[in-house]
């Protein structure tokens, strides 16, 4: 998978919030094989200086950091947070979240497109958290995004893929744009389903962090994502509405 010119072997991106401890987070990252970890600036610390302990723990994980603007409800807030993230983590990458609905944490796609354009013009490499809407996706690409992060379901809901048809349409319309399903994945089977649709990767947080055993769950997701991708590449058969014997029966001797 290639994201903004960076070749990644793992198709799993892992969030860093809500783990039982930083030690468990570090082990989960290792078990997941993930090469990209997202980190929230706004939620973990009110001001720039105070979160430094946690951010240095994230840097010490030795993986690429994808800072995010989680919890931002306005363009201005998201842009400011993105710039702060660039200073702290010395990366042009930013996972852009502009939340439009506090209950569903649904993206404000209008604000998202505007913020993405502003950040892309400023040299950021934007990973927009969006819906599966084709028109919004097109506008985000026009705004300068080279990766799309459609949701599976609302953040933290663990419901899996709410709109398989929509994600399939997005894949078909933009075959060459990396698609990362971000948010809503609850179980490894959801990740397999997403990967079988041909998306390029999956971004997870709660499903691993809040599992009874986050480290084991990180490993389970790693294997699920590999299996889903391998299944997609191997071109699965289509379902049929009648039975077809896998062994030809014509000419078989019937011993009654």
């Amino acid at each position: 998978m290639n994201l903004y010119g960076i070749e990644l072997a793992s198709r799993l991106l892992l969030g860093s919030a809500r783990y039982p401890s930083p030690a468990v987070l570090a082990e989960a990252v290792r078990a997941s094989g993930s090469e990209v970890v997202t980190v929230s600036l706004r939620r973990e610390a009110g001001t720039q200086r105070s979160g430094q302990d946690f951010w240095s723990l994230i840097r010490d994980l030795g993986v690429r950091v994808l800072p995010n603007t989680a919890g931002c409800h306005s363009i201005k807030e998201a842009v400011t947070t993105a710039k702060m993230a660039r200073d702290i983590f010395h990366t042009a990458w930013i996972k852009l979240e502009v939340i439009g609905d506090a209950d569903m944490l649904q993206p404000d796609v209008f604000g998202l497109v505007e913020a993405a354009a502003e950040l892309a013009a400023d040299g950021f490499e934007v990973f927009p958290y969006t819906t599966e809407d084709l028109v919004v996706a097109d506008r985000l690409l026009q705004a300068g995004c080279r990766v799309l992060m459609p949701w599976g379901a609302p953040i933290g809901s663990g419901r899996g893929l709410n709109n398989v048809f929509g994600l399939r349409a997005l894949r078909a319309r933009f075959p060459d744009v990396p698609l990362i399903v971000d948010a809503g994945i609850g179980r490894p089977s959801h990740a397999v389903q997403a990967m079988e649709l041909g998306v390029d990767g999956v971004l997870l947080n709660t499903a691993v962090a809040m599992a009874g055993d986050p480290v084991a769950m990180a490993g389970a997701f790693a294997r699920a994502i590999e299996a889903g991708r391998a299944g997609f590449e191997a071109q699965p058969m289509e379902p049929r509405d009648f039975a077809v014997p896998s062994t030809p029966v014509a000419g078989t001797a019937w011993l009654a």
Partner: protein
């Protein structure tokens, strides 16, 4: 044996009790003028080893369970009336999850919730009751330990900023919390925030936790209509004043627990920064004649007795 202790927070005071009780001559040095700057001062004071199993490593419950008896022996204000866990109907899944990860509780229905806490009657359909857990008020418990230490001949020198090298003692125990980061480099600060409110309309007799996928809340009754609301947990070493967002989250959750909290008076907004190691587990370490007791994280009152006993064993038996 002369032991100097740095820090008069919950770790320092409990360690002093354990050491003085074993016959050591103990002196405590505290840089603040009183206990009010210790993060224990803004703690919930819940002795809830089994509830903590929901998020903490199994060692926390094992180390913390004996703390209830320890506090009952050393502080008469320790109240053992259990912990009540409730959730709104739409968050019933949170109760299932909490129950799967904890032990020593009874699943209870609306009637039983009403019998335990009549104020909550009819408000919640189901909950969990942890009958063996206890709670205390840190602002009474810390001065009570200090008074007990004075009676045992232990002096506490407040307003003295000393380091271990300058203490004239056979052994030192460093209980400075986050301030010990100058030596214990992997310590980090985890910020917690709390609000103290007063309401004459609500009566609760035990800590109540409201589960929610986003904003967890606990309410600890302090008596005389005073309640401590807590529950935020932020990866931040800042002790800056509470943010509006945190205050809204806590107050909204309290309002969801009982609408009468809307009319409560806000007495205090408090912030504490808890010291934690990367695995969020406590440690007792020895470097030469110095022992370090640190990393109690959000479990100061729960873990201080077990860790103080470990420190005492290290000092008296070198084990």
């Amino acid at each position: 044996m002369h032991v100097g202790i740095l820090g008069a927070g919950v770790a320092g005071l409990v360690t002093a009790i354990e050491l003085a009780g074993r016959g050591a001559r103990v002196e405590i040095v505290e840089r603040a003028p009183d206990h009010a700057r210790a993060c224990a001062w803004v703690a919930g004071g819940m002795l809830a080893p089994w509830c903590e199993q929901a998020t903490a490593e199994p060692q926390v419950a094992a180390l913390g369970a004996p703390a209830i008896a320890w506090w009952q022996r050393h502080f008469a204000g320790t109240v053992q009336r259990g912990t009540l866990i409730v959730a709104a109907s739409r968050d019933a899944g949170e109760l299932d999850l909490f129950g799967r990860r904890t032990e020593r509780f009874e699943p209870i229905d609306a009637e039983c919730i009403g019998a335990l806490e009549p104020e909550l009657a009819g408000r919640f359909r189901q909950g969990l009751f942890f009958p063996d857990e206890a709670h205390l008020d840190p602002r009474h418990a810390l001065p009570a330990l200090a008074a007990q230490l004075a009676a045992m001949g232990v002096t506490i020198r407040y307003g003295v900023d000393a380091d271990v090298a300058r203490i004239d003692a056979d052994r030192t125990v460093d209980c400075r919390g986050l301030a010990a980061r100058d030596t214990l480099e992997d310590l980090r600060g985890v910020r917690g925030e709390m609000i103290v409110v007063r309401s004459s309309d609500i009566r609760l007799t035990r800590p109540v936790r409201l589960l929610h996928p986003r904003f967890g809340l606990y309410v600890v009754p302090r008596g005389d209509g005073v309640f401590m609301l807590g529950g935020t947990l932020l990866e931040s070493g800042s002790d800056d004043p509470m943010t509006v967002r945190s205050a809204m989250d806590l107050l909204n959750a309290a309002y969801a627990l009982h609408p009468a909290f809307a009319e409560a008076e806000i007495l205090e907004l408090g912030v504490g920064v808890r010291p934690a190691f990367p695995d969020n587990l406590p440690r007792v370490l020895r470097h030469g004649r110095n022992v370090y007791l640190n990393g109690l994280y959000r479990h100061g009152f729960l873990l201080a007795p077990a860790m103080a006993q470990q420190a005492a064993r290290l000092i008296f038996h070198h084990t």
